[in-house]
Subunit: 364 residues, 2 copies
């Protein structure tokens, strides 16, 4: 949509700009000295802290620009953002939203999820803190507390499990009248919703999004600040980063994606990353299977279903139930949009030659 | 002081009470079912989530009790709190403040820090969020931003490195007049201060603590919610938890403490944990060394100094500088109060017999 198209043309420029601003400080941190350029700065601030700040700041600037130009440029909707930046022989992944980066390692090493899916459920404490500190934002329509189950009037006076902004664990609360409000966050894990409206807690855009049938603005609860993951400490010659939107991860587990990439790169010598990305999308799209047994199928005559084994597909309760009911042998494939990139990291594991290491001016 | 004495007599009662409240939910989570006792609760809530919530809630109740009774019972000051709870064949460490628990593993495995020291520096984002959301608390005397160096008037208009509540990394900000206020958090790592007053961000008590020469209350910035660390996934037969106050950790690194414990338990067959704790305190207290070369020594004739090697002592810039200046051969020992416990975990690694596993009533 509009926000994603706009961000695609602009985000890399903001990242470049913010990294260039940091240039003297990066040189100083790399040389481990307090040069004249960055004098007296805190010596514990390292390259990763500076690059992380530059990426966070670039994302903030990007979202502000979308907000400022949304009327003039007709920028509609919102989007998640996921980037991998290579800098000074290091790699950084930055993610705002529920797209996901997975590190696929060469050899026998298992795949590893790099970024957290920033769903309302996972970003709970930040969202609840906003609701608790700014109660007017939700206009008294939503409860800032999270309950383990949906409450009804018959629960008044009972003790139920509950989480507030300030705790990690669940505790017991006696239900009172205001607890019966609709919860700020509903659902668990990746199927959660914020303000009964949106399934993602971070990203760009959505400046004008309102809760249905209300004047409650969603944007004050959203964040555009990415999670930044430095990668340089763990890179091998046969490592790749898989970056994909939730359309892929809804149906493929990290382990399944890792296996698909390993298989694809082992069978090809050129264009390995493109072939691996195509294989991932192919696996998520599945194959057409005739004669579905589900009577309420909206797709007459069949279904797109995964052909990879259940053991490696993403765990999903509804799919498990469907399988148990005998209505399907394989889980349904993804019908959502999918963007997918496979990025090689192997060239990072080669140690830089001395000429490639920059040094600060006027320094020993 | 008063708060620590009071908490010592009461905290375990609150923990027992909160865990007892959770009993039906714990049984239900253990049996993996939605029994009648805890019907329809979220199935993704596990035992660790419930115990974590019970411990958090017990700490909150403890702090409220201190606040309520502080006048009648003359409870003064504040304290950190660190507990290890054994429950259902599992262990949980809960920490509020800058005491620290370290896991000492048997065999060749290295020691591992379990809890984060909750100094103002480490608890930065929580503190900055409070300052940003409630600017009146600091009465316009403190800047909610964190700067990489102390600012002066000559920095006005310059770009300096800075962190806000909402980011992890450092970014560049042009210094304006309000940035010249005294920072909410000063110093880095464990030598940091909150509101120029206190070196710890969590714990019990301090309800009446004011910033010096002002009416700014510190308590609204403090938290009594502990970090809870479940231990059951990583326990070996020769593992111990070292729990100690900052007086020990100021001079001993985790690695040094691990080595002291390994040495002590290998040389004794009975009272091993008491002997190990005594050895830790002995190592932190060091030995008396005559003829200090420092002219400004306030202790005439000598110094208490560590006798363990520099390589294993806690890293500290000032000590390193002192050593480099030739004013000392070994780092100074701890003159602070020290509380230290060594807790055996080995009996947890023995799998429970079937009779020890509780089951929910009326459940299969």
């Amino acid at each position: 949509d509009g926000a994603s198209t706009y961000a695609r043309h602009r985000l890399h420029l903001h990242i470049r700009d913010r990294l260039q601003q940091m240039h003297p400080f990066l040189l100083s941190a790399l040389s481990g000295s307090n040069s004249t350029t960055a004098k007296a700065e805190n010596s514990s601030i390292g390259v990763d802290d500076l690059v992380t700040g530059a990426l966070e700041n670039a994302f903030i600037t990007m979202d502000q620009e979308i907000g400022k130009n949304r009327v003039a440029h007709k920028i509609k909707g919102g989007c998640t953002a996921l980037v991998t930046v290579f800098l000074l022989g290091r790699a950084y992944v930055a993610s705002a939203g529920d797209s996901r980066a997975v590190l696929c390692r060469g050899g026998q090493a298992p795949g590893r999820q790099l970024t957290e899916d920033q769903t309302p459920y996972n970003d709970r404490q930040r969202l609840q803190t906003i609701a608790a500190n700014h109660p007017r934002l939700a206009q008294g329509e939503f409860s800032p507390l999270q309950f383990a189950k949906r409450l009804g009037r018959r629960d008044l006076g009972r003790r139920v499990l509950c989480r507030s902004a300030f705790v990690q664990g669940w505790f017991l609360k006696t239900v009172s009248e205001e607890d019966l409000l609709f919860p700020l966050i509903t659902g668990d894990s990746k199927k959660s919703r914020l303000l009964a409206t949106i399934g993602v807690a971070r990203g760009f855009g959505d400046h004008d999004l309102l809760v249905s049938d209300s004047s409650i603005a969603v944007k004050p609860f959203l964040s555009c600040v990415p999670q930044v993951v430095p990668l340089h400490d763990c890179i091998g010659a046969d490592d790749f980063v898989v970056m994909a939107t939730d359309g892929l991860w809804d149906v493929l587990s990290n382990e399944a994606a890792d296996a698909v990439v390993k298989d694809a790169v082992s069978q090809s010598t050129s264009n390995r990353c493109v072939i691996a990305a195509q294989a991932l999308v192919g696996a998520a799209r599945g194959t057409w299977q005739r004669g579905s047994q589900t009577p309420d199928s909206r797709q007459s005559g069949g279904f797109w279903r995964l052909t990879i084994s259940d053991a490696t597909a993403a765990p999903d309760d509804s799919q498990a139930k469907e399988a148990a009911n005998g209505t399907a042998k394989e889980p349904p494939a993804s019908l959502d949009d999918i963007s997918c990139f496979v990025i090689p990291l192997g060239w990072l594991s080669k140690p830089p030659t001395p000429a490639e290491v920059p040094s600060a001016d006027g320094d020993n």
